[in-house]
Amino acid sequence: MKNIWFVVSVLLTALQPHAIRAQDASLDTCWSCHGQQGLPTDATIPIIRGQRADYIEAQLRAYRSGDRENQIMNSMAESLTREDIPRQAALIASLGWPHTTAPQASAGADLVAGCKGCHGADLMGGPSPVGPAPRLAGQNAAYLKSQMVAFAEGQRSNQEVMQALMKTIDADSKTAIAAYLAGLATTPTP
């Protein structure tokens, strides 16, 4: 009799669909695009290691809800649990922003004066009045340019101040700002 129940329970277990578990939350998945050493080979992809935790967390939530749009990141963020997001953000932030002492690009210093209110005097980000502002110094130029365009054109619509601001800046200035920011020496992060 016992055996019959054992068989029945095994059968019942077998009949249940295998639960599809969330993607393993290790950072390897992140590094496959964002670079094994935290330095993506594709400059259209942002450096995330050492980025501010509050900013990473806000972006992962925006990707998860669809407020920020990127096919890959929407799926990735959706696969994280709500509890995973702050944990992952803290882990990525703890790795330290790449420290560079690259010589500055010549033009652009005057153009970025207006960025410092939110992104910090050293453009290493900050907790701004409109939400966490990311580190910009040393970020990839192609990524920075793409985001400035996406704010201006409305493809990135999760930050109203940036949307309004980027509409006022012409294409050449966006290119110059991106190059200048990417070439800035960075302040070491803890």
């Binding site: 295998h18 695009c33 749009e69 096919q71 959706e78």
Partner: protein
């Protein structure tokens, strides 16, 4: 003597034809051999994937391998089948997405992101380059689908799917610039995640179809399950999703004035390309299935879309294969009610646009076949897609096979130099396809 030659050559030709057919049948890659990446692509390769071949979830890990678009490398060429030639028709067209043909042969192109415009090309007499190019409409947010209304030789409007809905412009055949401002026909379509909005009309002009993809990969965050599901499905459709996914992952239907919204069919995760089959008026979708289930799960698909049918998303895929990830609980009641799509494609191929061959240039026995642009994978260890495929039809029915038609955009394991988006047959019967990676419209011609 002459007769003898004729008869012999006829016999030889027949023999060759039989041989070719037999060889083609033998050459169809089936079962697990049908799965693969760009290394296994070659013009003419035929594949068939059936529901029985569906691979268990996470049989391989879910990979993230985003392609990097590079300029065409020196010496890199596209490859196509014997007798066909593929050449750029127009270059420098950033964000080139959907391409459609006006009754006079003008070529309408949506340049979606970030350009936000519709460009019109009037092809030269030889058809191999634009003779004249104009901007039909600009300052649009994410223009995608384009449709002429009413169907037939004398449309009065050009409809464009944009963020949030559908607009239309007054139009007379021959206009290369919109004759008036955009008029909003449909508004309130939710934005976010899957943003393409393709639009098409039934041949009788009575129905406008609008494809709206899901707002997520697999509705992990969906909530607000209707207390009375039966009533909800009665007002929406069998298997319709709710909450933030309401009226998404659907093909919607409206009158041409944008009234009387209804769900034509549900559970279609992302119908990026709508097409109406000539002769049958049936609605077809090229559909992107879900992510993060491993290299070869689940197949993307191209299918005729039956009114009121449910294609599975988010709870099921390819029939009764259950997905346990959706938030807000399982739907055992839908098991057995999932319509299986007609033609299954390699998982993560990302089919975007499709078109039926009306005939006129390509081999006569290819008339009625469907052609599909595969944008290419990111969620796979090795890239797949990045090519144009042919779906052979017998009469109005697809055989279930698909064939590599134009391949060669891969430049190594990480890089690609093109990402096909849409296909259309020009008035002369040549095939045009778009590439939003490098902003090119290509043209494929055939000469015996």
């Amino acid at each position: 003597m002459k007769d003898w030659i004729k008869q012999t050559s006829l016999a030889l030709a027949l023999g060759a034809a039989c041989l070719a057919t037999a060889q083609a049948a033998d050459d169809v890659r089936t079962g697990q051999a049908a799965y693969g990446d760009w290394h296994a692509d070659a013009p003419g390769v035929m594949r068939r994937i059936t529901p029985a071949d569906v691979v268990a979830p996470l049989a391989s890990p879910s990979a993230a391998n985003r392609s990097r678009v590079v300029p065409q490398p020196a010496g890199a060429q596209l490859a196509t089948m014997p007798g066909f030639t593929v050449k750029p028709f127009a270059t420098g067209r950033d964000g080139a997405r959907v391409v459609r043909i006006a009754p006079n042969g003008d070529i309408f192109l949506s340049q979606s992101r970030p350009e936000g415009k519709i460009t019109v090309f009037r092809p030269s007499a030889t058809g191999d380059a634009p003779e004249k190019t104009e901007i039909f409409a600009a300052n649009l947010k994410d223009p995608y689908g384009i449709a002429f209304y009413p169907p037939g030789p004398d449309p009065k409007f050009v409809y464009v799917g944009i963020e949030g809905g559908v607009v239309r412009f007054p139009y007379h055949v021959g206009d290369m610039m919109a004759a008036g401002p955009a008029e909003t026909i449909v508004s309130g379509i939710p934005k976010g995640v899957h943003w393409t909005r393709d639009v098409a009309f039934s041949p009788d002009g009575a129905t406008m179809y609008l494809a709206v993809g899901s707002g997520s990969n697999v509705a992990n965050e969906m909530e607000g399950r209707p207390a009375d599901l039966a009533a909800f499905e009665k007002s929406h459709a069998l298997g319709a999703a709710w909450g933030r996914e309401e009226y998404r992952a659907d093909v919607l239907r409206y009158t041409p004035e944008g009234k009387e919204r209804g769900v034509y069919a549900a559970g279609i995760r992302n119908c990026s390309g709508l097409a109406i089959q000539p002769g049958t008026a049936s609605v077809w979708c090229a559909t992107n299935e879900r992510d993060l289930l491993g290299d070869n799960t689940p197949p993307d698909y191209v299918t005729s879309v039956k009114p009121g049918a449910f294609y599975g998303w988010p709870w099921y895929y390819i029939g009764d294969h259950e997905d346990t990830r959706p938030g807000d609980g399982p739907r055992p009641d839908l098991k057995g009610h999932v319509t299986v799509p007609d033609v299954l494609l390699q998982p993560h191929s990302a089919p975007l646009g499709m078109a039926f061959n009306p005939g006129g240039m390509f081999p006569a026995d290819w008339t009625g076949d469907a052609f599909v642009a595969l944008h290419g994978s990111w969620n796979r260890a090795n890239h797949t897609g990045y090519k144009i495929v042919r779906l052979p039809f017998k009469g109005a029915q697809p055989t279930g096979d698909y064939q590599d038609f134009v391949v060669g955009f891969a430049a190594g394991e990480a890089d690609v130099w093109g990402r096909p988006v849409d296909v259309v047959f020009a008035k002369d019967g040549s095939l045009l396809f778009t590439d939003d990676g490098n902003g090119v419209v290509y043209r494929v011609t055939y000469a015996k």
